[in-house]
Amino acid sequence: MKKNLYPMIFLIALIVFPLVLRQEYYQHLIILFMMWVVIGSSWNLLAGYTGRVSFGHAAFFGSGAYAAGLLAYHYGISPWWGMATGGLLATAVAFPFGWITFRLHGAYFALATLALNEVLKDAAKIAEPLTNGMVGILIMPTFSSKLPYYYIILVMMVLTILCMRLTVRSKLGYYFVSIREDQDAAESMGINTTRYKMISLCIGTFWTGLAGAFYMNYMGFIDPSVVFSLQDLSIAAVLVGIVGGVGTIYGPAVGAFIMIAVQEFFRSGFFGLFKYFGDKTGSGAFTTLSEFVKSAHTLGFGLLVILVILLLPNGIVGDWTKIKTKLFRMKVTT
């Protein structure tokens, strides 16, 4: 039970949080954070546990978002019904895709996801009668307050993490990891590797599609360059996965937190630090710098990707013992 102590405390904190802190800005950040936990966890099931890296997770996120959006837009179906459809459509996209690519050498899958991402983005742009093309889809939000969204995504996040935990600790999880470690050995132990890779892909993309559909409902607006974004979704999903630690249950949560933090850190111009200096000294350089920093969160992501791969190859959770000993040693020497 002690093992579940920290997650439980964390969960209770999340439940209480919006009742205490009523500023919508912070609620918004936590909603995004929880959405990213869902995306990151599903990416992690595929990459961290099954060893098949997706470079184009936006393909599934976008499919889910468009499924929910189009149903609401064209048929007036409540976007909450659309949510289930979102998960299913993402899986429906993933199924034939995996069926083709899993037969090929490992690296092809990673590259093909990238291609799938681009194909779907272009398709959404071109199919104007259906998707409105670049203009995007706008639907009326269901709730005016952020609270309902907050609790919906909270439930979704908890379900995702539970799903991951159950999966990982069952036959499925053992099979996934054995495929990651050595596919030939896995086959020799009676594992139909193609089938289990498909299962992993389908579970992962279902949750991602669901997150996409949630995003549609929550933001009320999507267009191809937002929901199929290579940098802000596909790469960000990879980032969330690797910063926290691939192949760990709570790694994506840590990763999502750091990603949102970095994003806001940049977006707010280092929490208004530069602007403050600019006003104080009256120097234009600081003001320019603050303007730049506000749009530079992608640079932050890029640097983070490089640093994490170089220094923390197994992420913060995966390399936690390493980090601890390093910090500890530092304390001893100083």
């Binding site: 036959k171 053992y174 099979y175 050995a185 020799s188 009676g190 590797t193």
Partner: protein, 239 residues
């Protein structure tokens, strides 16, 4: 009905015949040795049986069923387990977890798989290292882990590919004991081995191949005295 039969196995890689018309039959309960010099096609034969390679032509018949068209994982589920010459441990899983993965071929719940895996681990003498990561094991233990994993899939026929290569004399004796124990437990074994006195002492019958072709078959004594075998191993001068 024969237990296991390989009929006219042929495998071409490009224009090169790696295995050329090899046939043999294995009886239930025996240890069947497969020998031949380096590159003679022994491991390829194993890969053909477990279908890591597709046969160019020929048939593999196990318990009366043709299996040459079945995928690898189904062959395992039918009851043919194998080890790899170049061991393939699941590196970042513990020894116990490695064997649990294999046990899932026969049971579905975590509890049963754990139980079956622990039995197998004890049987193979891996208890002392069960919680270590597979990548941290020395070679002798890794070879043993290969066997344990294959055994956890409950095979009735076990293909052992050079499980005693790289072992020191003590480890070698332990390995031989384990192989005999497996046979006594009712599992039929086909074994590839380089160390002559090992294979001569434990095999009931031996099949010798060279350049992908059968050169002799018989009891260890018969094969050891066969001119073609001596020639293949030592050169024409000794024949």
């Amino acid at each position: 009905m024969s237990f296991f039969r390989a009929e006219n196995l042929v495998k071409y890689f490009g224009g090169l015949a790696a295995v050329n018309n090899v046939s043999f039959e294995v009886h239930q309960g025996e240890i069947f040795g497969l020998i031949g010099p380096n590159g003679s096609g022994k491991t390829t034969t194993f890969n053909l049986i477990s279908r890591y390679h597709r046969l160019t032509s020929g048939r593999v018949i196990f318990k009366g069923q043709e299996i040459q068209h079945l995928p690898t994982y189904k062959i395992c589920r039918l009851g043919i387990g194998r080890t790899f010459q170049v061991v393939k441990p699941l590196r970042r899983m513990s020894v116990l977890d490695n064997v649990i993965v294999a046990a899932f071929a026969r049971v579905n719940t975590m509890r049963e798989a754990r139980e079956l895996a622990l039995q197998t681990i004890e049987f193979c003498g891996l208890l002392p290292v069960q919680n270590l990561l597979a990548k941290s094991l020395p070679i002798a233990w890794r070879k043993r882990l290969e066997i344990a994993r294959a055994m956890a899939t409950r095979p009735s026929l076990l293909l052992l590919d050079e499980t005693s290569a790289g072992l020191n004399p003590t480890e070698l004796l332990q390995a031989i004991d384990l192989i005999k124990k497996i046979r006594d437990n009712g599992t039929t074994i086909i074994i590839i081995e380089h160390i002559m006195h090992v294979i001569m002492s434990i095999s009931d019958r031996i099949h010798a191949i060279n350049f992908g072709q059968t050169i002799a078959e018989g009891t260890p004594q018969e094969v050891a005295q066969n001119n073609a075998v001596i020639e293949a191993y030592l050169g024409t001068d000794y024949a």
